[in-house]
Structure formats: C-alpha cells, structure tokens
Amino acid sequence: MEDFNSDEHEPFDSRVAKYLSRRLNPQTGRAQAAFRSAATGPSARQPTSPHRRRWFGGAAALAAAAALAMVMVLGQRRPEQGPARVVEPSPAVVRLPPTLLDDELGKQPTPVPGEVHVEQAAVTARAQPGVVEELVRYRTLDEGIVVIDGRRPVRKLRRQWLERVTWIDEASGARLVRIVPREELVYVGIPVN
C-alpha cells in the first residue's frame, strides 16, 4: 500500500479535516477543567483500592435509595436566588461529570418545556472520616428570548442545582444530611446585525 505524501492530498481530505476541527477544537480544554474541579474540589476522590471501593459502593447504594426522595425536594424547597448575569455565547461549557448513579436514579424529572440540559452528577466519597457521599443534581431551563435594557435581546437560561451531602458516623450509625438548592439566571447575549 502506498504511503502518499501531503502534496497528493485532495480538497476532500482537507474538507474532512476542517469539518472535524470545527466541531472538536472548541471542546479542547474542558477535560482538564473538569479534572481540576473533580480533583481539587470539596468532593475530590483519589484513585481507590478495590477494598475501599467496595465500602464506598455500599455507601453509594444507600445514597441511591435516598436519591429519589431528594429529587422531590427540588420542587418543594424554595431555592436560593442567585444573581442574574449576562454572558456572551461560548461553546465551551464546563460541566460536572455525568453521574455514577444514572441507573440507580433512573428517572429524569418530568420534562419541562424549554429544558435544554438535565444532569445529575458526582456521587463522591471524601478522604475525611465520616463524610461518605455527595450528590449534585443540576439542570438548565431555557426560558426563551427576552429583551433587557429595552434593547438587548438575550436568551434567558435558568440553572438549578441541588447538592446533597450525607455524613454517616460508623460507630453509631447516625446520619446527617445537608441539602442545598441553588438557582442562577444567566442571560446569553444574542449577536444582532
């Protein structure tokens, strides 16, 4: 089989290469950011030995059982209202990693008109004694185009988080659960001619 050099490439090859670059280059850097967030954030988890993972697996299974109830809390508790802000369109959005408990959580919340992104993420175990599990669920609702300042059309996105942290005291079996809902409005600028 011949190994042709670059002089013999055709526009077809260039077209395929450009097509892939246009789609994938904006995504570079996200993995690094996600890793930094996962490795240094409050829910960081080091690579674990099989023994530790079995223990964490049990804790995760317990947490999964409680997770469905937690989802219901989202609709019942009044969330903290975060500040609204305007951002310019950007293809690079750093998200938390997909959940390890997709199968256990199973059901997504009832689809909402205009919902653009729903994820639940990060069942993690920390190194500190007693802290066993953290679950973050978040979603983004697209609420359509609005006009701000009387002249700027923007897309209104409502981002909602629900963070649940469970501590278990191994000695007594006591559990402490903290649930923090948060909400943030993001206005994405729409270029106009």
Binding site: S6, R15, R22, L24, P47, V116, I190
Partner: protein
C-alpha cells in the same frame, strides 16, 4: 491507486513523548502513587484523540466534549484498576466509548434542543449567509456519509483526520494492527469520496 490520508502536519509519534518527557506508563504509575499533575499531563496527551473517539460515536462536538470530560474524571477515579499501564491509551478509549454511548442514549432529545439553541446564539456571526448555507449543507453531507461507516472505521477516520495519528498509534488505541487500520482507512476514504465528490 487510492491512498490513505496522511496530513502534512502528522506527527509520526503523536502519542509518544519526547525523549526528555516521561512515558505514558510512567505517568500512570505516578498517578497511581498519588501524583495529580501526572494525570493532567495524560489529559494533555490524550484529550484530542479522546474527542475523536467520542465524536465517532456521537457525531456531535459538544456531546463529545461532555463524554470526554466525564471519561477522564472516571479514568482518574478508576486508575487503580489498570494493571498494565502501557495500555493506558486503549483502556482510556474503552472508557470514552462507553461514556459516549451512555451520553448518546441519555441525550437524544437534548441534542436536538441544544442544536437549536446554538443556531439561535450563532445568528449574525456569519458575514456571508450564502457561504454559511453552503458550508452547512456540505457539513450535513459529510456527517451523513460518516454516519454510514461502521463505528470502528469512523473512529479510525476521526483519529487520522482530526489528530493526524499514525496507523500504529491508531492501532494501539483501537487494538488493531497497523495494517488493519490502513485497510479500514483506505476503504473508508474511498467510500466517503464516492459520496462526496
């Protein structure tokens, strides 16, 4: 005789470090010993190939980015399981493929809405609407042709055309011989050319 595409900027050993840099398996051992920065270096080396692998499954850049960032976090958490550090690339590609397939199942509806949002957000940025229309049409044809390839051939194509990997490197990631990679690339290129030219 049809050729296998080799880009002008192709690095013969794109996944092999320079002489003074640690090898992949050395980095893996460092991560297993608790060195986070070593994993950051692995991400720098493998992010683009991982994006190519995910794109071959998802055919959507943003979804591929989602899958890849999740795959690297999962790889970091599971690195203790890797008994053969020299196979890190193939092991990572397996995780990326699985994450991409999960993402595909989970996000069918979401991808559609996301594309619509992107289309709205992008309006006004293209100086020539006719050129933009033509480019989109070409891209759709190319996407449709790529979709007709089997997943393994499509992955080989994206790794070659996006990252310019050698057949040896692609074979290492996909657990194929370089000759098998060449054959797949040759057939895939012929197939795509027939449909696009």
């Amino acid at each position: 005789m049809p050729s296998v595409y080799h880009p002008a900027t192709r690095r013969e050993t794109a996944l092999e470090p320079a002489v003074d840099e640690p090898s992949d398996d050395e980095l893996v051992r460092r991560v297993q010993a608790g060195d986070r920065e070593a994993f950051a270096e692995l991400i720098r080396r493998f992010e683009r190939p991982a994006l190519a692998v995910a794109f071959a499954v998802l055919a959507d850049g943003e979804a591929a980015g989602d899958a890849v960032q999740g795959a690297f976090v999962r790889a970091w958490q599971k690195l203790a399981d890797l008994r053969r550090p020299e196979r890190f690339g193939a092991w990572l590609c397996g995780i990326v493929r699985n994450m991409a397939r999960d993402e595909k199942r989970r996000c069918r509806r979401e991808l559609r809405v996301r594309a619509e949002v992107s289309a709205v957000a992008g309006r006004g940025g293209e100086p020539d609407p006719a050129a933009e229309c033509s480019r989109k049409e070409n891209d759709q044809q190319l996407a449709a042709a790529l979709a007709q390839l089997d997943e393994l051939s499509r992955t080989a194509v994206t790794l070659r055309y996006y990252e310019g990997l050698s057949s040896k490197d692609i074979g290492g990631l996909l657990e194929l011989s370089p000759a098998a990679v060449d054959m797949r690339l040759l057939r895939a290129r012929q197939f795509l050319k027939e449909r696009l030219t």
